[in-house]
Symmetry: C2
Subunit: 237 residues, 2 copies
Amino acid sequence: MPATLRQVQVLAFDVFGTVVDWRGGIIAELTAIAPERDLSLDAGAVADAWRKRYQPFLDRVRQGELPWQVLDELHRAGLDEVVREFGLERLTEADLHRLVLAWHHLPPWPDAIAGLVRLRSRFVLATLSNGGMALLVNLARAAGLPFDCILSTELVKSYKPDPRTYQLVPSLLAVRPEQTMMVAAHPYDLSAAAAQGMRTAFVRRPQEWGTGNVEGPDFSVDVEADDFLDLAAQLGA
Amino acid sequence: MPATLRQVQVLAFDVFGTVVDWRGGIIAELTAIAPERDLSLDAGAVADAWRKRYQPFLDRVRQGELPWQVLDELHRAGLDEVVREFGLERLTEADLHRLVLAWHHLPPWPDAIAGLVRLRSRFVLATLSNGGMALLVNLARAAGLPFDCILSTELVKSYKPDPRTYQLVPSLLAVRPEQTMMVAAHPYDLSAAAAQGMRTAFVRRPQEWGTGNVEGPDFSVDVEADDFLDLAAQLGA
């Protein structure tokens, strides 16, 4: 292991897509609700359309066009657009609420828990997610994710890739930036973390969008891993 | 169980004295260091003197006399005074650092882990402590404390009993204040929590100061318990 990696003490994990399978979880909830409303829908297409509204909404908050609000509220605003786009007006208010809450109990990727357990023996494990604190606490409880610490960008009332969100990790865990490593399936997240001095681990999640394709980083990351078990092996945990 | 308690979803725990035995942990560290420096000391008296400097330092930060700083720094400032008072100048810089870090790995009370495990089956468990985030994460890891979420007054750069520290719990965990309960061995903490609308549980810790005495609340709390197992029984967990 290179010397730069030997000093890492804290791993900060992106959550949606990296630790948990948002697409699988949202498809499952849509598939459960649809027959109750006599709706036929392409659950994968609805899930993807919903998720694609995520970054534009976050950008508007980061740029000050929208006041800061927790992710649940942005999920709801995006869902309202998706309902119109896909003609899902039969969904009730309770259904929409249930769909927003589906993001609080998404299924972990198959390797996630075993990988986190191994990594935790050597590193402090934190989340660093755009999900709100309550969402992340619910998600970790529901899936049994063994994090030492839940950190959300809510703590600085902004969203990744705002530099202040990454600075939370060394600041609150009392280590230097180079003693922390961001773990994510998304190059934009790692690039922003590296700009704040964090080490970076890219984890391939080819089924995040159900396609089998991975868009890898076009810059140098410290580690590339196939899953959390591979990451643990590479980090000596 | 009264209706007011049935709506509680989140338990927020004071840590020093309530979950962990700070006195036992500090005595153990002092007792380990003293012979290395050929020092004879009354470890209990030193621990008590150190802890008694805690509230006055916190008050000075809350009142703006001192700039905000994490508890480690206040522990160090208090320790420097104790060294002079007890003539402990033989302690080295490394010893003093080790003593400050002893607060990061204090032993839990004997009932604490089993009680938290039971309570967690029914409630979201958070810390709400004057210890910094890094300290609390280290403490929870070292003792294996099964908290869902580490919250520190560091998140508002103040100390209990500042009202803003209690407001963190409902705000970040997305519940109403009356859906949260502060659990503490110290009446001042519960009184300040109640003023922010939280429910209150007083836990008797007669050995916190090694005396067997308990100074109970002189106001009405929602629950009084002998330990965390008794608390779990009373809360139906």
